[in-house]
């Protein structure tokens, strides 16, 4: 009988008498303190921009800045002034940051003569001097936009190429050289994958980045078939006397930490009518630059008269950078 009247709900035994609510012990106190401290640190980190705001390092306008293409000219000028002041504060040099706009009726094209290039890397150095990338840092990765690939003659095989070649003199026997940089694709994969539309194509064909809008997710680097983009893992390290003061908002201003940057065909030069820096220094004249929409330009002459090779044509990016041969 007693067994039948057994009611588990009202059972009284050792288990039911266990305390549900433990009093404070040393262990639980420490556990709670650790969690609380971690949380507080997280909150402090999240609020850090606001603290910087109070200290005057960051302007409120920078935090609330709109996308480049929604900015009024006055807003953009104010932002560029603030960037100039920031550069002067951090590097001791006050640059002149401009925002040259695309020229009407201009679409830039670039051609490189594989029969002439000797792999001397003068273009890489000129790019570094022109575009203010991070350098002189032992722990830094290579930030120059141009990589010169040493290839074995007989095929265009990237898998046996070498960018770390070092020799007494170039060109070496049995090798040829293929500098690679941003191809400014018409169907640019990098602009399609950007989740915040921080990178886009300008009317003159240049693919640019709003460094203030980039969130540093590096999807574009994964999408690029030409290894043309670089990520600023850290604040750029540049000696003050190496800073090129002729800067523009979309191209060679000193990048903040945590954003992607890339070759823009030296937009600040080419939109002013000048040649890009890599072409200016090329000792062999292997590089040809011009306006694709001008039938009399030298780039059109190359495309119409030479054997032209498009790197990774099969991926369908339709680049504006061409390789050609002339013998």
């Amino acid at each position: 009988m007693t067994a039948m009247n057994h009611d588990p709900q009202n059972e009284t035994g050792p288990r039911a008498l266990e305390p549900v609510y433990e009093p404070w012990t040393r262990r639980s106190f420490l556990k709670g303190a650790a969690v609380g401290l971690a949380g507080a640190a997280g909150v402090a980190a999240a609020l850090h921009p606001l603290l910087a705001l109070e200290e005057g390092e960051v302007a409120l306008a920078d935090l609330l800045q709109k996308h480049y293409r929604q900015l009024t000219p006055e807003d953009l000028r104010r932002i560029m002034d603030s960037l100039e002041a920031q550069c002067e504060r951090e590097h001791g040099v006050r640059p002149a940051i401009r925002d040259p706009r695309p020229l009407d009726g201009v679409e830039f094209g670039y051609a490189l003569n594989l029969a002439r290039c000797i792999g001397c890397r003068r273009c890489v150095e000129a790019c570094r001097q022109e575009n203010n990338p991070s350098r002189d840092d032992e722990d830094d990765i290579e930030m120059a936009y141009i990589r010169v690939l040493e290839m074995n003659q007989g095929a265009i095989n990237l898998e046996t190429s070498n960018v770390y070649y070092d020799a007494e003199t170039v060109p070496r026997e049995g090798k040829y050289y293929m500098p690679a940089q941003c191809h400014q694709c018409r169907q640019a994969p990098c602009t399609k994958v950007c989740p915040v539309r921080a990178t886009w194509q300008e009317p003159d064909g240049l693919v640019v980045i709003d460094y203030n809008w980039c969130i540093g997710c590096r999807y574009c680097m994964a999408a690029c078939p030409y290894d043309a983009r670089r990520f600023n893992y850290r604040k750029p390290a540049i000696p003050p006397d190496a800073i090129n003061p002729d800067q523009s908002y979309l191209s060679n201003r000193i990048r903040p930490k945590g954003v992607v940057d890339k070759c823009t065909f030296c937009l600040h030069r080419t939109r002013a009518g000048k040649y890009p820096a890599c072409l200016e220094v090329c000792p062999t004249g292997a590089r040809v630059f011009g306006n694709l929409r001008d039938p009399g330009s030298e780039i059109r002459y190359v495309l119409e008269h030479k054997r032209v090779y498009i790197l990774k044509e099969e991926v369908g990016t339709a680049p504006r950078f061409y390789y050609f041969f002339d013998r």
């Binding site: 890397r121 290579e142 070498n162 770390y164 009518g273 330009s297």
Partner: protein, 265 residues
């Protein structure tokens, strides 16, 4: 290839003596024999005056240096020639003056044309009005020993140089091409490259791609190619990029096949 200096001076003296005798001597059989000697071969037969001077310089030098000392005025004439070569940094600038951060040195230092443009008075005819032009071939030259002619099948000085006007080059029909038009000379044989150069697809250009916004400078043939040795000379490359510091496999052999650097297709 390079002879000792005193020997070269001796040769120079020979040339001078030959040239002077060529002018001074009246139109006699002596002068005719001198000309015949020049035409035949310089190794064995020379004109009478030249042969005497040559032998005295050649054989007197080891035993008695004072015996065949050339007269002082001729030495002074040769040492007073202007220095031809200038360091590349002093070459006229190419490209835009604002681009001081870029290295725009032309690949080759040129002499003739820039010398004239920069106010030099060096004039090839100062010497060559004395020394007639000859078709040098298959034997070492006595003068201009620093010139090695490695221009493919083009082995004759007077294919390019004008036979009587040494300040100019020569066209197919014998007319002179001035030094400033050196591209026309090169275009005689390298027509396709000349066409590319005219269109801007060959050779180095600096300045503005847009002619409406600024001027463009175009290097001429001889600012990159030595006309006597026209193959583009090898250069020392700038240092390679830093290998990523924390990456797994540092480049195994600098000159062998390195790691793959572009993403796989």
């Amino acid at each position: 290839m390079h002879r000792p200096l005193d020997q070269i001076h001796g040769y120079g003296f020979v040339c001078l003596a030959g040239g002077v005798s060529y002018i001074i001597l009246p139109k006699t059989d002596q002068r005719a024999s001198l000309r015949a000697g020049m035409r035949l071969d310089g190794k064995t037969i020379a004109g009478a005056a030249a042969a005497v001077a040559f032998l005295s310089v050649q054989f007197a030098a080891p035993w008695a240096s004072s015996a065949a000392e050339p007269p002082a005025p001729s030495i002074a004439l040769f040492t007073n020639l202007p220095v031809v070569a200038r360091p590349p940094a002093q070459q006229p600038a190419t490209g835009l003056p604002a681009d001081t951060h870029l290295d725009k040195t032309p690949p080759r230092q040129t002499v003739g044309l820039d010398l004239v443009r920069n106010g030099w008075t060096y004039n090839c005819m100062e010497c060559h009005k004395l020394i007639p032009a000859r078709w040098h071939y298959d034997r070492p030259l006595n003068e201009h020993q620093n010139i090695r002619l490695e221009h493919g099948n083009n082995r004759f000085c007077l294919n390019c140089h004008h036979p009587s006007d040494r300040n100019a080059f020569v066209d197919y029909d014998g007319t002179a091409i001035s030094q400033s038009d050196v591209v026309l000379l090169c275009g005689k044989c390298h027509g396709t490259i000349y066409r590319d150069w005219e269109a801007g697809a060959h050779g180095r250009q600096n300045g503005y791609w847009n002619p409406l916004m600024g001027a463009r400078t175009k290097l001429r043939c001889i600012q990159c190619h030595d006309p006597h040795r026209p193959q583009f000379q090898p250069m020392k490359p700038l240092p390679p990029p830093k290998y990523p510091p924390r990456a797994a496999h540092p480049p195994a052999a600098r000159d062998g096949a390195g790691p793959v650097t572009m993403p796989h297709e």
